[in-house]
């Protein structure tokens, strides 16, 4: 099959089943893009998310553009972005009127409640799959805990957390590299 068409269909599926914001999309991308198509490695998802979160716009759309570009250049970026956006566009046009009318529908509420329960564990599963490539030594564990505390207790902005992570990472990384060098010299 044509690669661009494949990208489009894959991201169409991802877009159609992403309930509850950009991070809920990670498990779907892991399954479709990493396991099924083997287009990118699972640990690369973290880097893609970091970028998607650091630029303006929706995280889901940004990561799709990013992955599409990586796989097939600018045309890949267009195919993936178009694919992830189209289901929402169609669903809103088709169902918006109905949902506004029957939005208080009890059964509909129950369906979405059940889906949210799955989304929780899907995102947790993503954490479970990704932690090994993120937490590679003591320092990274400390950074993760610090970031978590700052984000949840002090409510700092995600981009601020990412910038801090970059700066701390830069300092630590170069120290460890230097240590390795001096050790190698001895």
């Amino acid at each position: 099959m044509n690669l661009l068409l494949e990208l489009f269909i894959t991201f169409f599926r991802v877009g159609a089943f992403t309930f509850g914001g950009g991070y809920a999309m990670i498990p779907l991308i892991q399954y479709e893009v990493c396991d099924n198509k083997k287009w990118i490695k699972e640990e690369d998802i973290v880097d893609i998310l970091a970028l998607a979160q650091s630029v303006p716009g929706a995280i889901a759309v940004n990561s799709s553009t990013f992955i599409g570009y990586r796989i097939a250049g600018i045309r890949g970026a267009i195919a993936a972005t178009f694919g992830v956006v189209l289901p929402s566009f169609l669903i809103i046009l088709g169902l918006a009127g109905l949902l506004l009318k029957y939005g208080d529908n009890v059964i509909l509420g129950k369906i979405f409640y059940g889906i949210r329960a799955v989304v929780v564990s899907l995102i947790l599963a993503a954490v479970y799959k990704l932690y090994k490539s993120c937490l590679i030594d003591y320092w990274t564990v400390i950074i993760a805990i610090l970031a978590f505390v700052l984000l949840i207790i002090f409510n700092i902005h995600p981009i601020f957390a990412i910038i801090c992570g970059a700066i701390v990472g830069l300092i630590l990384y170069h120290n460890t590299q230097q240590n390795l060098k001096t050790k190698g010299g001895n």
Partner: protein, 179 residues
């Protein structure tokens, strides 16, 4: 010219909303108010629908607002407007990143950024979990049906490698009967 106004407004929203769809909501609200496009009640309803339907909240609300204001073409133009700025930014950034991916500065930054992103993902799970795992008047204050669904779907995806879409569909059907 309402189409041009929509394009310009959503272009601006797309360009200045850092931190995903939720960060976009106040910006959309401001644009709607300054153009008198919708009432406050309509806007709240739109956000509620944008949150429950699948897909990025940013896209959902842009499409919806555009549709309400100027029909199908309004929806098309607003969606395009909200996607365009970031599309170009991401493409440019992708070029830069792939060029410098082996550079020690890039490696150092990613070394520190990865654990932060891991925490952000965990936080997203907590954010969603807060709305669904708890219930005031039950044992231990937990909603045991949700906890059960969450537990078994976690097992399903980690142990048995079930497809997330399958789990979402099952939980949707299950939710309709169990709650």
């Amino acid at each position: 010219m309402v189409y041009l106004q929509l394009l310009f407004s959503f272009f601006k929203i797309g360009l200045f909303s850092f931190g995903g769809g939720y960060a976009m909501i106040p910006l959309i609200q401001k644009e709607i108010e300054s153009h008198n496009w919708l009432t406050a009640k309509q806007f709240i309803d739109i956000i509620a629908v944008a949150e429950t339907t699948p897909g990025p909240i940013a896209i959902n609300s842009a499409t919806f607002v555009g549709f309400k204001v100027a029909g199908f073409y309004g929806a098309l133009i607003s969606t395009l407007g909200v996607c365009l700025p970031t599309f170009f930014i991401v493409v440019l950034l992708s070029k830069a990143v792939s060029k410098f991916s082996e550079h020690p500065v890039m490696k150092g930054m990613l070394y520190g950024i990865r654990p932060v992103v891991l925490s952000l993902i965990l936080l997203a799970a907590i954010f969603v979990g807060k709305t669904v795992l708890f219930s005031k008047d039950s044992l231990l204050g937990l909603d045991w049906i949700s906890v059960g669904i969450a537990f078994f779907s976690f097992l399903g995806v980690v142990k048995f490698k079930l497809h997330p879409i399958l789990l979402i569909v099952i939980a949707g059907i299950g939710g309709a009967f169990l709650y």
